[in-house]
């Protein structure tokens, strides 16, 4: 199995004032391999989201290195990072982050606009992606016409559309009731079975236990990392 993302000695420090600093990550080493289903668990404020931003190359570490498919990203321009995110990473957020008053299909197509695909290709891939998450019948619905669970499915379809190397989900069930949450988790499990690499951030033990590997984080440091299946 090849290494997809590799973090070594990564720290992240936020400056709040002239001498107030918050260390969100304090020396994290982590490899994510192709085909894995990793849960990152830890209490609120432990640095999960910060870690996810590093994995998703949304942000650069203060010190340490992040490599995507063996390539150090710290020297890259913002333009290049955007291109890499577009190609390699699919994000799923707690708050869904769909564009309001915009159909499910158009929401799903969004990443393809920035990769320069034609309208026809976007439509085909968008429809396919929505069918994968079971929303083939709801393509023209806007977010307000969809339930929370359905909205999160749209977000997952959007993350899937570029066939990314990695899907990152930050508390994807945080805004959902337990039934809808379970459905989202089993959808992620299915996607993993089909070969997608998934990193799931959560603070709930039962949810983390659905993954194949659990990375536990506390105060910005990894305190355990074990495979469970």
């Amino acid at each position: 199995m090849s290494v997809l993302i590799s973090l070594s000695k990564v720290t992240k420090t936020y400056k709040l004032g002239d001498d107030v600093e918050v260390s969100a990550l304090r020396g994290v080493d982590l490899n994510i391999n192709e085909g894995e289903f990793v849960a990152i668990i830890g209490p609120s404020g432990s640095g999960k989201s910060t870690l996810m931003h590093m994995i998703g190359i949304l942000d650069q570490p203060t010190t340490g290195t992040v490599e995507l498919e063996g390539k150090n990203i710290s020297k890259l321009t913002e333009e290049k990072l955007a291109e890499l995110r577009n190609k390699h990473i699919g994000f799923v957020f707690q708050a869904f982050n769909l564009l309001p008053r915009t159909s499910a299909l158009e929401n799903v197509e969004l990443p393809l606009i920035y990769s320069g695909d034609s309208a026809l290709v976007r439509k085909q891939k968008g429809e396919e992606s929505l069918r994968v998450v079971g929303l083939g019948e709801r393509m023209d619905h806007t977010p307000s016409q969809l339930s929370g669970g359905q909205q999160q499915r749209v977000a997952i379809a959007r993350a899937l559309i570029t066939k990314p190397s990695l899907i990152l989900a930050d508390e994807p069930t945080g805004n959902l009731d337990s039934k809808a949450g379970d459905e989202i988790i089993s959808l992620l499990k299915d996607l993993n079975k089909q070969g997608n690499t998934i990193v799931l951030v959560t603070h709930e033990r039962e949810i983390a236990e659905q993954a194949k590997r659990i990375v536990e984080i506390k105060d910005g440091q990894i305190i355990s990392d074990k495979k469970i299946k």
Binding site: L58, E79, A82, N97, R101, Y114, G116
Partner: protein, 400 residues
């Protein structure tokens, strides 16, 4: 790089999905552009109207007005009609100059009312010599003009405009009928045709013309209000002006009269109205700038409002440049569409106002207003667009 057509589509889609915000943003530009077009059309209309009035006075005309008029110290004085020291004697003297002076006429004008069989109409009555009628291009469509002998004898005869025929006679033939004017009876001898000039702002249609001496008796005046001198041709105008000044200076003080030729008077008035038009346009242009600041303001607010959207776009692969272009196109679209609507409203408004006072929509005002509004879209759109493109995707996504 994503194709520009795609970003344009994105931007327009985003504007359409936020109709209220878009319309509110455009409002300032709409008001500014339509105000520029409307105000300039009023100024321009006034200018054209006055030029027309002068042109109907006839060409190669030198006019003597009482008091100090125009030029002088850079100001523009109105003729001193009430204190006029010009007299019929001056008219005689001027007509004896000969040479380049072809003919000399004079006139007075007073507001008055005319009545016939209990119907009354308020209008302007002019007393004109036969020569002055000719200079003003007045003609009759029926009956006869007033002659020099009518003038010398001071006969109570009158020419009336077609509008007076309509309102006093119900359109029936008025020739030979007696109308009442200032308590005296006058016989209608002719009906004026619609062409020619009734004087400033006075329509020939509702004009009443008496022989000059008759009018002087009726209004108890010894002076005349204006003397018209027709020059042989355009080139002789300066010479005529010189001779007229010389002749009048023998009897009158320099401040008692002014000699102007119609074309230079038109030029002076046009110059003044041009400044007025420009000032009106300038005032309206300020509202256009205010509209631009409005666009910037709402676009800035919308950057804050749309932080999440921007963060998301960046997370899924939008480059800073893509966001920058999208926001600039949004604000340019708003200002151009707003400018277009403003042009339309300005046009329609000018058309509506044209029912009451004459307006002329000028190409330069439309081009300027539209150009400025488009430029405003770019200039005032850059700051919000730049701040949007610089947003950090993480901060943007966290924004609640």
């Amino acid at each position: 790089m994503i194709p520009i057509g795609e970003i344009v589509r994105l931007s327009i889609q985003s504007l359409l999905r936020n109709k209220t915000r878009s319309i509110l943003t455009m409002l300032g530009i709409i008001i500014g552009v339509s105000a520029v077009i409307l105000l300039v059309s009023i100024g321009q209309g006034l200018q054209n109207y006055i030029t027309q009035q002068f042109e109907s006075l006839g060409s190669n005309l030198v006019i003597v007005l009482p008091g100090k008029v125009g030029g002088g110290g850079g100001g523009f004085g109105a003729p001193n009609i009430a204190g006029s020291k010009l007299s019929l004697g001056d008219v005689d003297k001027l007509s004896r100059i000969g040479g380049a002076v072809e003919s000399v006429g004079a006139g007075i004008e007073m507001p008055s009312s005319v009545s016939y069989l209990g119907k009354t109409k308020y209008t302007t009555t002019a007393g004109l010599t036969a020569e002055y009628q000719k200079m003003r291009n007045l003609t009759v469509s029926s009956g006869r003009m007033m002659s020099e002998s009518d003038n010398r004898a001071g006969r109570n005869v009158v020419n009336i405009g077609p509008g007076i025929v309509d309102s006093l006679f119900g359109g029936a033939n008025p020739i030979g009928k007696q109308i009442t004017l200032g308590g005296q009876k006058f016989q209608v001898v002719g009906v004026l045709s619609k062409i020619g000039s009734g004087g400033f702002g006075i329509d020939v249609n509702s004009f009443v013309v008496l022989p000059l001496t008759t009018a002087q008796k009726l209004f108890g005046m010894k002076s005349v209000q204006a003397i018209g001198i027709k020059a042989k041709d355009k080139d002789s105008i300066p010479e005529v002006i010189r001779q007229v000044k010389k002749e009048l200076s023998k009897r009158l003080k320099e401040d008692d009269f002014s000699v102007v030729d119609s074309s230079s008077l038109v030029a002076t008035i046009n110059q003044i109205l041009g400044v007025v038009t420009l000032a009106l346009g300038g005032i309206a242009a300020i509202s256009l700038i205010v509209g631009g600041v409005g666009i910037m303001n709402i676009m800035l607010v919308s950057v804050t409002e749309r932080t999440r959207e921007i963060g998301l776009r960046k997370a899924v692969g939008a480059k800073p440049k893509d966001i920058l272009i999208q926001f600039i196109i949004e604000s340019v679209t708003l200002s151009v569409v707003g400018g277009g609507i403003g042009v339309l409203i300005g046009f329609l408004g000018a058309l509506a106002i044209n029912q009451f006072i004459s307006t002329t929509v000028t190409f330069w005002s439309v081009a300027l207003a539209f150009g400025v509004s488009a430029a405003i879209g770019v200039i005032f759109g850059v700051a919000p667009a730049a701040s949007a493109s610089k947003l950090n995707p993480i901060d943007a996504l966290k924004y609640e």
